[in-house]
Amino acid sequence: MHPFRYEPAADTPAALALGAAAGAKYLGGGTNLVDLMRETIERPDILVDVSRLAGDITLDDHYGLIIGAGVKNTAAATDRLVRERFPLLSQAILAGASGQIRNVASVGGNVMQRTRCLYFFDDAARCNKREPGAGCDAVEGFNRNHAILGASPACVATHPSDMCVALAALGATVRVDGPHGERDIPIVDFHQLPGETPQIETVLRPGELIAAILLPANGVAARSSYRKVRDRSSYAFALVSVAAGLELEGDTIVDVRLALGGVAHKPWRAFIAETALKGGPATPAAFRQAAAAELASARPLRDNAFKIDLATRLIADTLEKLTQTAEPAQ
């Protein structure tokens, strides 16, 4: 581990002041950052501990539910408001990591997770994230867990979060504080596709700090579910996951929310499928067609062609099951 200075921040202004320094990184639960520091992949000079900040979940008339960035994953998943209004989010968080990790990991840190690509973790391998321009050993290596959508020749890594997949489906907003004030970024725009610059993973600017996640009210909460498919029952990243929500009037789809995990460099909001479905009939055939349309641009790698089929099946099956859940109480 590269030697660093540890600075606990008493409040947000103090955190921003400390975080403005070159070589500074914000520390939440540390469940990903500290791992990467131990591998010497992350080498911050200063760790600004923000884990004691923004630890509340509050209801706001204008913004909906506001989840502070410092809220622990377990606390968010078990919160009464979250479970009642956004059960999808609660399910997604509980599908991630392990109980021990969720107890420590923060909501802000979850958003900022970096990929678990094997070649990113091994500094004996070539990786454009670690060393821009070096090349990518994952493209023709072990890439079972890698992207089928939106990847580039420079990077085929996936974003590992479950929580963010639910946030994408729910149309959440990331509120950030920074040296130049506060701004709100839709979660679907927060993470980037790799393109030529896979080392740039989010739109955060230097020194900016996630303050909270804003969750607007929606009509799909009652018919929503998160399904995660992985190589063992727990403590494994998604091969494919689906966050889905449906709002029906009779058999007609009034609103549908669909996002995928494990398939791209960011939580993948399935806009193509949503557009195809909205206003149409909630039938198995429509679900299958919409899923196929979403996956039409998928490009398989050596080990992950199965994800195209798996994602298609999972979308169609999850939506079909949602139509079978009881009519939500008004």
């Binding site: 392990s98 678990r116 973790f121 190589d231 029952s233 798996l310 099946r313 999972l314």
Partner: protein, 774 residues
């Protein structure tokens, strides 16, 4: 060894083997059953909790990396990033200048060492491989240690290690199976004999058989992941070396390290009181030798605890296998031919071609056999023993093929197995010492509800979940290796200490051996101390091959017989025991009594008091382990599995598992059940998820962590039921056969066969991941 000498030795061995096979039973150890077999209601078989449990729960059991020493230094390793070539330069200047650094050791300043004797090359050889340890600039595998840093703290050592920069002149290595195969496969040898056996013309009989299966099965590399990392605390005192090691071979490690350093074995003391899992991996790898070398250079004690990544880099695991299994059968199911052949990867520097044909040598009767293991050599960390080497992956191929044949024949797979039950060892012709697999199948099938299975795939469904049942035979040989010896000291207060250089890796050795000694001596468990884990104690007992219980048992029988002789001498003519011979008395209620007439007895206290002695001591070698050449000695199990396969996603969940075992007399119902269950859990990992991701472009292991190398989590493991025949083997100490490894065998096939029953899909390539079922 010259060809002539080897041939002469082989001929001599063959003659000896024949003589042992044909000798009268009474000449063979175990020819007279161990009297303990007759003890029915005592400590043997009881479900006794581990005596070291409270210590471990309280964190007071001291493991190898927990021994404090004055002026301790901490080691970190730097590993090569190429598979083959030379080191051209090592830039360690920043590492040397880093805070707390005591020493950086590379091939340029390491002490001169002899090559490590690789396992099975000599009786006490313990090396995972024979590659010279940091003696030159040659790289043999990706991950080989190239530098060691010693520092005042572990964190300082880890940091300094990360500052080292090594330049290489890479050479073309062999890192793919395809390129290794192109070099030409060679014959595999195991325990000095070729892994090749041909009886009758199996290919012709297969071709002529009315029913046959002929399929390719493959299993991937597996890495060892004991909870306790490989570790040692090492110190020199003059020319004497002290090692607190995490090992399953204290004597082997001591002898082999002495060889490496060119010192006498008696100058090396190895202790290992507690080991957090071994599974075949806790032998001599580079880290103990490097720590001892660095300690010598620095003149200070060294603690080395290899990181989890480091264990993947420097400790070998189970190698990859490519198997062909072909079985030809008549319409009634009788086997005409069993063919089990294939190729495994290994290195030029080790001795373990994963012997996957071992189960096929004795599991079933057949008119002909063709068994063969070929090896190819790669630049990789030397593969090694991993729980049931051979059987765990060999039973996957063999037992899957039998299931395929049963389906083709329209026969129940259990009935097909029983149809081919041999009445003597099918390939050696030796009589079985004890074999109750048919009873184990019957009891297991009834308990599991096998009769409710529909043989047609996809016949049972619960919502999205397709349900299937499968079964397979588990099998593992009985071994007892030479070298067992034990000492018993019996005090006049009736306390006995049994000492033997054996091992406790968490499986319950100390508990079980205390039970056995107490029962044999007629004492309570509180009156017996079992001393182990120290190479200065009598005997050479490897905790491997599931042989420890038998090896210790055989040595304690010999020491006990001698002890009884001493006691009878001391008892003299004034004792009720007067005139009795050692074989005519046994331990009972704190003393000796006549086996014929228990009323003739005298307590140990009384005997020693009359003889005016504080204690009596006896030490003896165990008998030569000839029983394995006189009888065919194997344990078996009937494994039953229920799986649920998601029809949408292909996810596999094992919902029930039952193992019905025939392993001789069970000594401790609790620790044995844990061994069976633990083996089955490891087998579920083998079946469904374990796979080392070895990048064939670079020879580098890409998933060296428990996050990416998947073993089962709690949710993956259903309720596992275990049961056993408890039929003593009349020819083994205590009537027992080892239980440490058999649990993993057969599991892969039981799961695969259940998956076929659920889905109609036959997966012949482990692990059975969901993409193979979509």
């Amino acid at each position: 060894m010259t060809g002539v000498k080897a041939a002469a030795q082989a001929a001599m061995q063959a003659v000896m083997k024949k003589a042992v096979a044909l000798a009268p039973d009474s000449w063979i150890p175990g020819g007279e059953p161990d009297p303990l077999i007759r003890h029915k209601h005592g400590l043997i078989g009881a479900a006794i909790s581990r005596i070291d449990g409270p210590l471990k729960v309280a964190g007071q059991a001291r493991f190898s990396a927990e021994f404090p020493m004055e002026r301790m230094t901490y080691a970190a390793l730097h590993y090569s990033t190429i598979a083959k070539g030379r080191i051209t330069a090592i830039d360690a200047a920043s590492a040397r200048a880093a805070p707390g650094v005591v020493l950086v050791m590379t091939h340029e300043n390491a002490p001169r060492l002899n090559p490590t004797p690789p396992f099975m090359s000599k009786p006490k050889a313990a090396g995972g491989d024979s590659v010279p340890v940091m003696q030159d600039d040659r790289i043999h595998w990706n991950g080989q240690p190239v530098a060691l840093v010693l520092a005042e703290t572990q964190e300082q050592a880890d940091h300094a290690q990360s500052l080292i920069r090594v330049s290489y002149a890479p050479e073309a290595g062999v890192t793919s199976m395809a390129s290794a195969r192109a070099q030409g496969p060679e014959q595999g040898y195991f325990r000095g004999e070729p892994l090749k056996l041909e009886q009758g013309d199996a290919e012709d009989l297969l071709a002529a058989a009315p029913h046959r299966v002929d399929a390719a099965y493959s299993t991937p590399r597996h890495n060892h992941n004991s909870i306790e990392l490989h570790a040692a605390t090492v110190a020199w005192s003059g020319d004497e070396l002290y090692i607190h090691d995490a090992t399953q071979a204290v004597d082997h490690v001591a002898w082999s390290i002495a060889e490496a350093f060119g010192i006498e074995e008696r100058q090396v003391r190895v202790t290992s009181p507690y080991v957090g899992g071994g599974f075949g991996s806790k032998i001599l790898w580079q880290h103990q030798i490097l720590a001892a070398a660095a300690s010598k250079l620095a003149g200070r004690p060294v603690r080395i605890m290899v990181s989890r990544e480091g264990v993947f880099r420097i400790v070998g695991g189970r190698t990859v296998t490519e198997q062909r299994v072909a079985i030809g059968a008549q319409s009634d199911g009788g086997f005409d031919a069993i063919i089990h052949t294939g190729t495994v990867a290994m290195t030029p520097h080790n001795n373990l071609p994963e012997p996957f044909i071992l189960p096929a040598r004795s599991a079933y009767a057949a008119k002909s056999f063709k068994l063969d293991v070929k090896t190819v050599k790669l630049n990789m960390v030397a593969n090694t023993f991993m729980r049931a080497p051979g059987e765990s992956v060999g039973t996957f191929g063999l037992e899957s093929a039998i299931d395929e044949l049963a389906f083709d024949l329209g026969m129940d797979p259990i009935a097909l197995r029983i149809r081919n039950e041999p009445d003597k060892d099918p390939t050696t012709g030796l009589p079985f010492s004890a074999r109750h697999i048919v009873e184990a199948w019957g009891a297991g099938a009834e308990r599991f509800g096998w009769d409710k299975r529909n043989a047609q795939p996809r016949a049972q469904r619960d919502g999205d979940w397709l349900i299937g049942l499968g079964c397979a035979t588990a099998t593992y040989p009985y071994y007892r290796m030479p070298g067992g010896a034990a000492r018993i000291v019996l005090r006049k207060d009736g306390h006995a200490t049994v000492s033997i250089s054996a091992h406790e890796m968490g499986m319950g050795t100390s508990t079980v051996q205390t039970q056995i000694a107490a029962e044999r001596l007629g004492l309570t468990m509180e009156q017996v101390t079992f001393e182990y884990g120290d190479n200065t104690l009598p005997g050479v007992v490897l905790a491997g091959g599931s042989q420890q219980t038998a090896a210790i048992g055989g040595a304690v029988i010999a020491a006990h017989r001698k002890l009884v002789g001493e006691l009878l001498k001391l008892a003299g003519n004034d004792s009720p025991l007067a005139g009795l011979k050692p074989d005519e008395v046994g331990g009972f209620d704190g003393g000796l009594c006549s086996l014929q007439d228990p009323s003739r007895s005298e307590s140990y206290a009384s005997i020693l008091a009359r003889a005016r002695q504080d204690e009596v001591m006896a030490e003896a070698d165990g008998s030569p382990p000839l029983e394995g050449q006189h009888w065919s000695m194997h344990s078996h199990g009937a494994m039953f599995c229920e799986v649920r396969v998601n029809a949408v996603t292909g996810e596999v969940r094992v919902s029930r598992f039952l193992g019905s075992f025939d392993c001789g007399r069970i000594i401790n119902a609790k620790t044995a059940a844990s061994q069976f269950r633990g083996g089955i859990v490891m087998g579920l990992g083998l079946a469904l998820m374990e796979e080392t991701q070895f990048d064939e472009r670079t020879g580098r292991i890409m998933n060296p962590s428990l996050a990416e190398y998947h073993v089962p989590v709690h949710l993956d493991v259903p309720m596992i039921e275990v049961m056993w025949t408890d039929e003593p083997d009349p020819h083994t100490p205590m009537g027992a056969r080892g239980v440490g490894e058999i649990g993993i065998t057969g599991v892969g096939a039981a799961v695969a066969n259940a998956v076929f029953n659920a889905t109609g899909k036959r997966v012949r390539d482990l692990p059975i991941t969901l993409d193979k079922l979509l």
